[in-house]
Subunit: 297 residues, 4 copies
């Protein structure tokens, strides 16, 4: 029952892993999995990925990419296949967008991540991108999970917008069990009854997941809040909660964005944001240098 | 619809305030309400309140209170009327517990907060406590809200475990409209489908509420997570998200607590926790000294 | 975890009853509790209660009551203490409304039910009404539950809008354990993400609760749907699901109602509605005359 | 906000359709879409589909199919590609299972429906099955929706387990807009906090959807409740709520089922169930012969 037996439920997840030997792939046994991404490693470095929600055209994407590089991000994001509730909404640039991403990578030297929705597009995505994102709506798209289990690139697995931790870890297990252990989890907000935010960012999942899995976990403050004014506090809170990185939507001119306008963080304010993020990361790292505390229940 | 029209919904809350002139009591018009609590003021100082879930007996409560005072907390908590799902569970010490709270205050000089559930107990609560807590299950107990609207003591209004921001602010409005403007809001986690935590701490409500109201807002990492191992990361995240204080359950011997055992933070580890909280507060305060940023949508 | 271990959870409820001997009060041991209400008995007769959301004035209430009586209802409803999200909304007629209810009872011979929110009003309510309703927001208002445990009148316990069955049965247990075994449960919709209805009527709780408790259970199709166009199909569905009665909001002129306008069923269409309800009840009763089927898991 | 503006939200759906001319495909303009399925038509006949959760082996499937045919069902169901939370659970028989379905169709003359998860399997599914099911987890799998938009067979579109009506209708719109207007909606329960049932069957969505769309809508009482003891009351309630059909999981020996054991309705009790369903359908049809009532708000 909700609100009862939390510990039992966590134990149930652990137990279900215990009697499935393969599940060892997922289980936290003390070491952390490190997933290389350009010059950084998820799980070791704090990784900041930024970029607009959608790749809209080459020149604006490249201009944004250069500015983000100057601000010190570790990677770029940009959607080219857009999952849209209505079939009449902008669906993304597709293959043309992938080429823009590849150009941006070449020019800035930064790795790029993009979402793939169709198992038949995975091979194409791998030609251009450095990391394949599985979006929230596809967290339990099992044919797609099996497809990315067969590639040699890292996978960014977003949490389903109503998925439990157990379901999320099981989805990751599809990828690990299929032979690809380069999985990074991404919390992006869950659907709740609170409507002043688009979703509710579930930051306590960060330390809760850490206790159960060795996989890195980053946080998306943009989709979760749906409002640019909440992005900074949620970035800093995610760092303080122990996240391994951030995935932030940034746009040169938020008011003109083709998708998810209200949540695009303005590019001109981004340098101050990343500075505060880095200072918070530095503080949290000093805590980590203290002698280890006993494990609490 | 969920996930759509967030901004519109925020505007709807603002508008509904606009055509109700009394609502000005609640609306954020630039200044912050300061609520005195012992030597501190909510809204100006970062206020840490700690103590066991329930007052269990005099000697253990006083011993805990002394240790918390030494660790530098700003106030004490302790439940004497316990809202319990089952009538067969421990229901609290009642009046006897109030006396123990008063003794602890006298000995430590720290103010105390305790929950009152019955409108007929409000007067009694005011005799002994410095702040009256309205618990999550009573956020929409309108006779109780009207009763505490008539007192001269600050009120700690916990968010209902499934309440929206609009409902919560309306509940606060009952107290303000009745003549008591010393209200402090407390986020304590909302019910979601995630079951590895007891509730889901909704930290994005902290900056979202700040945009709409002048009332201080603190965070309870104990009931929300239900697990002591998640208390520290959620304390630090709450600070980074802009909370005005924390309400933390601490127990000398968590395994022996009469209520909510798993979420009691061990007293012996508390000094390190509060040190990290204070260092995070200090960092966030340096950000606040930067020139103001433009208000984002 | 949601979606897992349903049977286990039901068993957990049963077990928690088993090791608490008093809980026998609630447990389904084969017989059904019969709760008298005017000329009918909940648990034996199918009981239809109807009336406007709020008592608005004497003449319109009496006119409505006479028409409902003519249509064949078994009892009347009408709110005089209204739980309202905002303190600036209509709060009900209070004691004056109770007198109107008593007049309607005298004139029609029908018993009346009304909601009490404040433990200090329970005695007053018992002077005038035949049944005391505990509203959804007060399902876990424990001082109020304890107060109605001490009265000699039946209690209509609405399900909390986000309460689980276990929490609801525990709330009923507060009343039973306190000495009042005349409790009728009322399903009134739970909060979900579906927004085309006000709440989601959870009809599967009807047979699920039946397996665990001997208490009668009725259904409120008005608050749950929030739309009068959905009231008829949900009335019939509730009957088919095995409900013991219905609580329906009916208004002479829905467009002029002071509260919950959209969900008031028009009085002039009510005779056809109740006719269809009675015909569906008759069909379901023919099923009950078949030889008993084996209990399924 | 939840609980507020229901009518506005329904209007918002209607309006969003209005300024998208293509959306006319979905909109309820008075006529009902009829979708042929074997000897029946969804939208005109009440259609009962039954069968085990998974196709497990040829002989047991054929035996079950013959018994269901004798009991008077209109079509058969059986999963051969199973979406499973864990990669280590039984994943279905795949192509071999499709052949068993085709054999059952040949022997019984009944049409069959089965779920397809991978866009690359749609063509294969169409070779063997009469109707393609899109499961709850794939309601927003847009590449899959686009794939079935291109086929000449009816599509059974299950509601996402947390989808709103607006999202569900938009998903249907992907299929209609792509050229396939043979879409049947299927309510199968939504995730709520109630844990005594697997999901909560949302029956008020039946009449609510009817007001907005011309598509037929059937109900799955098996996945929604997760408990065979609740299947009969929910079947009857679905009929009373105005559903166009039922999708019921039935198994020869529920305790031995490979998947979703607790919700398999026992084959030997099925004749009585379908008899009661048909008698309830007959009653509801008598109501439909009354003169039309005015449309309520």
């Amino acid at each position: 029952m909700p609100g009862m037996g939390i510990r039992e439920q966590a134990e149930e997840i652990e137990m279900s892993m215990a009697h499935e030997p393969e599940r060892v792939l997922l289980k936290n046994t003390g070491h952390r999995t490190l997933v290389p991404f350009g010059a950084r490693k998820f799980g070791e470095d704090f990784v900041v990925i930024a970029g607009p929600c959608s790749v809209e055209d080459a020149s604006s994407y490249l201009e944004t990419a250069r500015a983000l590089r100057a601000a010190g991000v570790d990677g770029l994001r940009g959607g080219v296949f857009k999952p849209r509730t209505s079939p009449y909404d902008f669906q993304g640039l597709g293959r043309e967008g992938l080429k823009i991403l590849a150009d941006a990578r070449e020019e800035t030297g930064l790795p790029v991540v993009t979402e793939i929705m169709d198992p038949r597009d995975v091979e194409l995505g791998c030609e251009y991108a450095d990391m394949i994102q599985i979006g929230s709506r596809n967290m339990q798209n099992f044919p797609l999970l099996r497809e990315v289990a067969g590639i040699q690139k890292p996978v960014l697995l977003k949490r389903g917008m109503q998925a439990t931790l157990a379901e999320w870890l099981n989805a990751a297990e599809y990828v690990l069990a299929g032979g690809n252990n380069q999985v990074v989890l991404c919390e992006r907000g869950i659907r709740t009854f609170e409507s002043s935010t688009r979703f509710s960012l579930d930051l306590s999942i960060v330390p809760a997941a850490r206790e159960l899995t060795h996989l890195p976990l980053i946080v998306d403050p943009s989709h979760s809040t749906g409002r640019s004014s909440l992005v900074e506090p949620m970035c800093l809170a995610a760092v303080a909660a122990g996240a391994d990185g951030l995935l932030i939507e940034v746009h040169r001119r938020p008011a003109e964005a083709l998708t998810d306008r209200l949540q695009q963080y303005p590019l001109d304010l981004f340098p101050r944001l990343i500075d505060r993020i880095r200072r918070t990361v530095a503080l949290v790292e000093t805590f980590a240098q203290d002698p280890a505390e006993p494990r609490l229940p």
